[in-house]
């Protein structure tokens, strides 16, 4: 048996190298050189965008939209343009953005500077979820250092360009991670999603053109400009997977897109606990359709997962072994969306309440045989009928569990008690 050697990381390594929360070690390691070249005009905005397009980078928040194209959509010559960073990492079991913020704040600041200089923004807001106290302290301290060194604020890198970066904190609402709801929240209102179009690129924060990117997405940008898109792509291209649940070494792992689910679990995360067998895994957060043992050799990339009816989402891999009760897991998942539904759309608001009630009665031994068809009907009613992706997040796992683990539901309905 050969031992597995984890490949060299090019993004995550910044967060795993001690000292990278400080400016000087980051600069000595080559940090801020890409931003300096952009500020000095050595790299024109067109060249930056071309590099991003060539790199194939896609948004890491969950939607997977091509980043270069997003940057291209920002109109030139607008009087005011903003950059907004989505650091409201709330998709269950996703923790890569927090890891980057706590370990490599200067990498994010450099990505924000490059974004602002490229699209002509003088101001950027970093929206962090409130619970990220440590991340926020780390980022604020790093911003202070960068400001004192003239890299942020007036005349960045000695150029005539100003880029101010403001850290803004949320107040506890999963829905604020949806990009238009985030803008509402940043404007001081309830985090309710907006109708699109117009997209934020045309009318975002204060109805101004706004470039909105996830923390991890922006952390890839300096790496792409430093290595060049071709060498960057040689690494996979790389993606950060948050692996959690029933694994020996839960954590964030950088692996090439297309890595096998089996390898993530058994090579990177140390496998399952002794004596346990694999049961299921969510490949991209609890909004993605869970995979089962037949899928262990599926490549973890956008297209392969989409073909299966699942998605890469935020690349949060939640691993479940045979000790877990699938009905409890699905009930907990649906309860989460019930808690977090903003209440705007009826199918999401009512569907999550209704499905939770049915699942709870099944778990408490009061389930009826027709409940399984009822759950399928609720899931159908929530598919394609909601304003934003929240309501759409319930059906995939609910339906998949009814397909793959129907026997567990049936055991409860036949009178088994919790835990069998």
């Amino acid at each position: 048996m050969t031992t597995f050697a984890m490949p060299e990381s090019i993004v995550l390594r910044w967060a795993q190298t001690p000292g990278m929360t400080e400016l000087e070690p980051y600069r000595r390691a080559g940090g801020y050189e890409a931003a300096r070249r952009v500020a000095a005009g050595e790299l024109a905005p067109e060249a930056v965008i071309e590099a991003l397009v060539a790199s194939g980078l896609r948004g890491k928040g969950g939607a997977g939209f091509p980043t270069g194209q997003k940057w291209k959509f920002i109109p030139r010559q607008a009087p005011v343009t903003y950059v907004v960073v989505n650091g409201d990492e709330g998709e269950p079991c996703t923790f890569k953005d927090r890891t980057l913020l706590e370990g490599a704040p200067h990498l994010l600041i450099e990505g924000v500077l490059i974004a602002a200089l490229t699209v002509g923004a003088r101001k950027a807001y970093v929206y962090l979820r409130r619970e990220f106290y440590r991340a926020r302290r780390t980022l604020e301290a790093a911003l202070e250092q960068a400001r004192a060194a003239g890299l942020v604020g007036r005349g960045v890198f000695g150029s005539a360009r100003d880029v101010e970066i403001v850290v803004h904190s949320g107040a506890g609402a999963y829905i604020a991670g949806e990009e238009t709801a985030l803008l509402e929240s940043l404007e001081g209102r309830r985090a309710l999603p907006r109708l699109r179009p117009p997209f934020p690129a045309q009318a975002g924060l204060y109805q101004r053109p706004t470039l909105l990117n996830n923390v991890e997405t922006l952390c890839h940008v300096p790496v792409i400009l430093t290595l060049g898109p071709e060498r960057y792509k040689d690494y996979g291209p790389p993606a950060l997977f948050s692996v959690s649940g029933h694994v020996v070494r839960p954590g964030v792992y950088e692996a090439p897109l297309g890595v096998k689910l089996r390898s993530l679990i058994f090579d990177y995360a140390g496998g399952l606990r002794p004596g346990r067998r694999f049961k299921a895994a969510f490949p991209g957060g609890s909004s993605s359709m869970p995979l089962v043992a037949d899928h262990l050799d599926v490549p973890m990339d956008y297209d392969s997962l989409r073909v299966l009816g699942s998605m890469l989402g935020s690349a949060a891999v939640i691993v479940i072994d045979d000790s877990a009760d699938m009905v409890e897991i699905i009930a907990r998942t649906v309860e989460f969306y019930r808690e977090e539904s903003c209440g705007k759309c009826t199918p999401c608001r009512e569907g999550t309440i209704w499905a939770t009630q049915v699942l709870e009665r099944i778990l408490h031994g009061r389930g009826r045989p027709e409940d399984l068809a009822l759950l399928e009907g609720i899931a159908r009613g929530m598919t394609g009928t909601c304003f934003c992706p929240l309501g759409e997040s319930v059906p995939p796992s609910l339906v998949a569990s009814l397909r793959h683990f129907r026997d567990e539901y049936e055991r409860y309905i036949a009178g088994a008690t919790r835990g069998h």
Binding site: P92, F95, Y133, G172, R189, S244
Partner: protein, 161 residues
């Protein structure tokens, strides 16, 4: 209570809110941060605190109350000196958070959402804290505690007088 104070927010809080307003193109953007300033000063968002924020930002009190009630981390009722947030989402559930929640409840004599009679602790079960490599994860005020077991809880509580 002996009636609301003359000014609902202190001078320091009002100065801080004025500074926050300067960070944004529209003053309402300062609402969430301003509510945290008021909450820190009053311990929770009392009607006086909400009115104070409304006055400082020149917004209707109804709008301020509507926004405050949308977000989970604004407290519209008094909370304990320390707020304990126990994550119960999937990764923590799979790693035994139920026993942690139960132990906190027994030790403090409260259920989730309640405050101890001495006003020291409020216990809340919460959604994913994005600290899943440390499951079960617990936040006490601004401190994150990793891989918490029921056996850790007595020592943990002692740190928060």
């Amino acid at each position: 209570m002996s009636g609301p104070p003359a000014r609902p927010l202190g001078a320091e809080a009002r100065a801080e809110i004025a500074r926050l307003v300067g960070l944004y193109e529209h003053r309402q953007s300062a609402l969430l941060p301003a509510l945290f300033v008021a909450q820190r000063e009053h311990g929770y968002l009392s009607p006086e605190a909400l009115a104070g924020v409304a006055e400082a930002l020149d917004l209707p009190v109804s709008e301020v109350a509507s926004v405050a009630s949308f977000y989970r981390l604004f407290y519209l009722k008094p909370v304990g000196r320390h707020v304990i947030q126990v994550c119960t989402n999937l990764a923590c559930m799979l790693n035994g958070c139920a026993a942690v929640v139960r132990r906190f409840g027994e030790r403090l004599g409260v259920a989730s959402g309640e405050t101890t009679a001495d006003g020291r602790f409020t216990l809340r079960t919460v959604e994913c804290l994005a600290a899943c490599e440390e499951a079960p994860a617990v936040l006490v005020d601004e401190d994150r505690w990793a891989r918490v077991t029921p056996g850790d809880i007595d020592r943990l509580l002692e740190r928060y007088p």
